[in-house]
Symmetry: C2
Subunit: 260 residues, 2 copies
């Protein structure tokens, strides 16, 4: 008899908005009973932390809440620190699934590169855990996460049943709306942020710069995630840890390693 | 007459160890005269910052040093903030090249995901600038960067002549040694860090966790960068911004978008 098969899945939940954010708490409610839930999330906002790790100072964690089927821990580190610390030091077994989010704000296109939500998702994937990032295109603290929970659950059920290939994780983004018509499989839109700073002054009249900006979508292919979201669909992008450009590798080898 | 062609290339230099580190200063010396050099780097160590951006507080910069062919600025932000602020607000024209480093410590395999050096390199690529990250596998403040400068120059000359494809940047790692036999074109090794924390105590006897760990290379393919470095070669990995897993996209579309 395989003991593991008799257990409910262990689901590690994290985010980059902190354990008190509405998005992660709505996610917890929507996954109630699907498995053993362990929340291990930052103790405050960590938006835009990407895959940052804390190496110069130590990190700490504490148990915030415990009841049947749920433990909630808060951690002083980044989203990636949370995943590393939970798996290395806290959880009794490897999680069967990692879910990061639900983020207050979208993580489509190149935002996957900057997002703490997606940094934590990639980190789960590095550990070999099927990992999904969930984001709603609404930054409001009291945003309505119902459609994101519903669509996220579809993706979570798919992954719990089928798993994910080694080295691949998922990025689901959901637009604002009460009846999202469906999930479109997409690639990451090719575009970037422009006009990225607002110049202001500190108390002494010296210039300071606040990050802001607008996104410019340069992608004309119909399968890009920005377009799907603009059209009212949720977008699902499968993402790889291996960023190697194998085409350029072959090309440059002719110059640098002509005998290989 | 094209004015731009008469100008020397504008080279933006940054790092994640701070503008005072030996690695970036050796890089500056090695690029002296190759172009107009603008250094825009953090005011202190930012290792492990990945592509983190600063959104909750403002950032500042100041001019530290100026002479013919060189300006050095320090910035309170992350490596990615440095690239964004330099290009959006400070530089008079788009750089022709971005070089990040030379990092004190290797950024091979999955380290590309956590590295501030490589976060800044990817950011240059997002702006459409040919971008190269340089790292030496030696964390010592007084490390010997001569071989890294020599090999880095080979890659820089290649890129200044041929450019790089849209959305691709380069990651050069150099092992310790006085005579590195050459640069091998590689893919990012498939492996991960294990035993990642050292438990210790704070002043009150409460547990704290310091990031540490050892790298486990799970990659058996002969073209992985860890192996090249272990064999005494420098490794060069071309990296893509687009992390989409197109194979899984096609596969999952059958479930989620059967009519597309």
């Amino acid at each position: 008899m395989n003991m593991k098969e008799t257990k409910r899945p262990l689901i590690l939940i994290t985010n980059d908005d902190g354990y008190q954010a509405k998005g992660i708490n709505e996610l917890i409610k929507s996954l109630w009973g699907v498995g053993e839930l362990v929340v291990f999330a930052p103790d405050g906002p960590r938006s835009g932390m990407s895959s940052a790790i804390t190496s110069l100072i130590p990190i700490k964690y504490k148990l915030i809440r415990q009841e049947e089927g749920l433990k909630v821990y808060s951690c002083t580190g980044t989203p990636v620190d949370c995943v590393k610390l939970a798996i290395n030091e806290v959880l009794e077994r490897e999680p069967d699934l990692l879910v990061s989010g639900i983020n207050h704000g979208g993580n489509m296109a190149i935002c996957v590169n900057y997002s703490g939500t997606m940094g934590a998702t990639a980190e789960g994937c590095i550990f070999g855990i099927p990992s999904i990032g969930l984001s709603l295109l609404d930054h409001q603290p009291d945003a309505d996460f119902r459609e994101t929970c519903r669509l996220g659950r579809t993706v979570i059920d798919y992954v719990l049943e089928k798993g994910l290939p080694h080295g691949t994780y998922l990025n689901l983004n959901v637009p604002v709306g009460e009846h999202i018509p469906g999930i479109k499989l997409c690639h990451q839109a090719d575009g970037r942020w422009i006009k990225e700073f607002k110049r202001s002054e500190d108390g002494n009249g010296k210039p300071v710069y606040w990050l802001t900006g607008e996104f410019r979508n340069d992608d004309t292919h119909p399968d890009n995630d920005m377009l799907a979201l603009d059209n009212g669909y949720a977008s699902l992008v499968p993402c790889k840890l291996d960023v190697t450009d194998y085409d350029l590798l072959s090309e440059m080898r002719k110059t640098f390693n002509p005998n290989l």
